[in-house]
Symmetry: C2
Subunit: 390 residues, 2 copies
């Protein structure tokens, strides 16, 4: 449960930013943004004036919102007629998250609140949410421990001859029993994730996912993750899963091999480890996110692996890490064009990977906390490839 | 894979509707709408002129789009500068799905395509998609068979003393092994679903989900579905799961009891079955969707159960069924205010349920096809409560 102190701290931070930007208040509609401030994930809207007490308007469930949230002003959702009476004439500029609010919603609110100027505050809320409090880090750490413990069990159930789908089912079963909440939230339009990837050969399929690996998936409608391909010996098997515990996502990847591995793939893996290590050292407050990606790219180039870094040749992703928290694709992104300096307490999944056509997918991923000493590893089990006897 | 014939049929249907509405063309950006016409789910946009050949613009993956789609004109995604050159001056009115397109996307396209009028076509595409072809019904039927077979296995693994979460994990494991694609798509803003519900006592929790039952869930961030509550004897255990196979969703609910059941709950269950039966008979082309909901409500009233029909007293949902297909919340909705006449080939999950405070959740759900003979049951296993010996 969100404490009063933490809720107030988050709200005052947001209000300060609204004041600095000359915005009268923020009208949040996206559930996970509302959860961040209110501690309850309902079908609701949250009005946060730049100064004063926020109001949570709840469609469903008002009872649960009141039971879970430390906010003091929680009301039934107003009708279109009531809405304008709640907003004084001094409220001129209203912030909304244009990145996730559908046009229909936007049109509705601009109609019931005429004469106001609506502005996009998505970069502000995303930046605020990117820096985690101690309570958030505690949730993330304890979730990561559970995710790690399922990764540690993989040698018990991974067998040659099983389908990628069987491996996915075994992994997901254990993750769920450990308390994984089942739904991995993504903010980006057009992206969705069914938990993770359990892939061998299917991992080299072309795909829509904005990541190094999409997976072949089970149909053209769900072209992502595990497929019906049989897992062979002597090839890399990539497990990339996000675990959601208490709402917080940790994300990691490990490589498993039944038998032995092609030297070229082992070399590519070693490059991925070196890249991860260089980024981990550089993950200090003030470091520019883009520079970390460029550093990774440079190291891949030096190793002659730039053409298959972060994706199949010609369809590569232009990042090497992404913020994680209540969503899988939070700020900051270690990506081309992302010039924000890192801040202490940001949590980033770093995932240098190579997709080598005809050979396989290989790489590493861990979730780190940005600190003065570099990245603190949260998904704290060994990085090495796990070799299993055939 | 989507055949050329079926793709052409779907496109010409949409084009006819665009022409009738005086719209120059539709610019689809929402992945599952694009999938419906193109047979490929990529990060893409689909331009469909009211007359002529559609163009699929693909960000990622162009290779996979070309391998999967029967469309003839598939191109790399144009830059902001190239975009306007692709649209002639005769294109005046452009349709978009305002229900799902974020404001940022909308603003981008109105900027690169200046001087055009943008209109909402979400009701049109939702109506078109609601009527399933034979090929779609075949996918839905074969998926429903797999879902049913997992429901039939429940007595093998349901035990008193296990947590709701354990029951969910066991069910989801088998569903996944059967080929469930892992991600249940919902269209409505503010809604999300982690597969389904496995609930006993936790089922009576207040919740955000727009359905009869939300479940207590595992945390305030994920307040839905199974919780850590222990499954007891002599109480209804509700399993409500959506299976996704080949992209198509079938949805069903069954009640299980370890031991015996309170007479009042058994009576409520019998009322749910009567309601389902009345709706099934009335599900013929031309029947008004709202009337089926009113019929259900009337029957619940007559049985003295209206205060707990479709939810906890005071927080009840105002529907008794919803279209299913590529999304869980398709048209038509058997709901207050939904005045569309049913059409043959629409697929609807009918789910009369009661939430009785302090007692439990009980009801039934099956997926039906609208036909001249009434609803054809797709999730074809017995409806009866499954009693398991303690």
């Amino acid at each position: 449960m969100l404490t009063i102190t933490e809720s107030e701290h988050r709200i005052s931070h947001m209000q300060r930013r609204l004041q600095e930007s000359g915005i009268s208040g923020a009208l949040f509609m996206f559930p996970i943004d509302i959860y961040y401030f209110s501690g309850t994930r309902q079908n609701a809207a949250l009005w946060m004036p730049a100064e004063g007490v926020p109001i949570l308007f709840v469609r469903k469930s008002l009872t649960r919102a009141r039971a879970e949230s430390p906010l003091v002003d929680i009301r039934p959702f107003p009708s279109g007629k009531e809405f304008p009476t709640l907003f004084s004439d001094e409220i001129i500029t209203i912030g909304m998250t244009f990145d996730v609010i559908p046009v229909q919603q936007f049109n509705y609110y601009t109609k019931v609140l005429p004469g106001r100027k609506f502005v996009d505050i998505s970069p502000i809320i995303r930046e605020i949410r990117s820096v985690k409090s101690n309570a958030e880090l505690e949730k993330l750490r304890s979730g990561a421990e559970k995710l790690c413990s399922v990764f540690s069990e993989v040698p018990q159930f991974l067998k040659a001859g099983m389908r990628e789908l069987d491996l996915a089912a075994e992994f997901e079963y254990r993750l769920r029993k450990a308390g994984h909440e089942g739904y991995v939230r993504m903010r980006a339009f057009n992206q969705e994730l069914a938990g993770g990837l359990a892939v061998s050969k299917g991992g080299t399929a072309h795909g829509c996912f904005d990541g190094a690996v999409t997976g072949k998936g089970l149909s053209c409608a769900s072209p992502q993750g595990a497929s019906l391909e049989i897992i062979p010996e002597n090839e890399p098997i990539l497990l990339d899963y996000a675990g959601v515990f208490g709402g917080y996502i940790s994300d990691m990847t490990r490589i498993f091999v039944i038998g032995s591995l092609d030297t070229r793939l082992q070399e590519a893996f070693d490059v991925a480890i070196s890249i991860q290590s260089a980024i981990q050292q550089a993950m200090i407050p003030g470091a520019i996110a883009e520079n970390l990606y460029l550093l990774a790219l440079q190291m891949a180039e030096k190793a002659g692996l730039d053409s298959c870094f972060m994706g199949l040749p010609g369809e590569q992703s232009k990042f090497v890490g992404h913020g994680v928290g209540l969503e899988l694709d939070e700020f900051p992104i270690l990506a081309k064009g992302f010039n924000m300096p890192l801040q202490a307490g940001q949590t980033i999944a770093v995932e240098p990977k190579f997709v080598i056509p005809g050979k396989g997918v290989i790489g590493i991923e861990n979730t780190f906390i940005v600190s003065g000493h570099g990245g603190l590893k949260v998904t704290d089990i060994p990085d090495e490839i796990v070799f299993i006897k055939p």
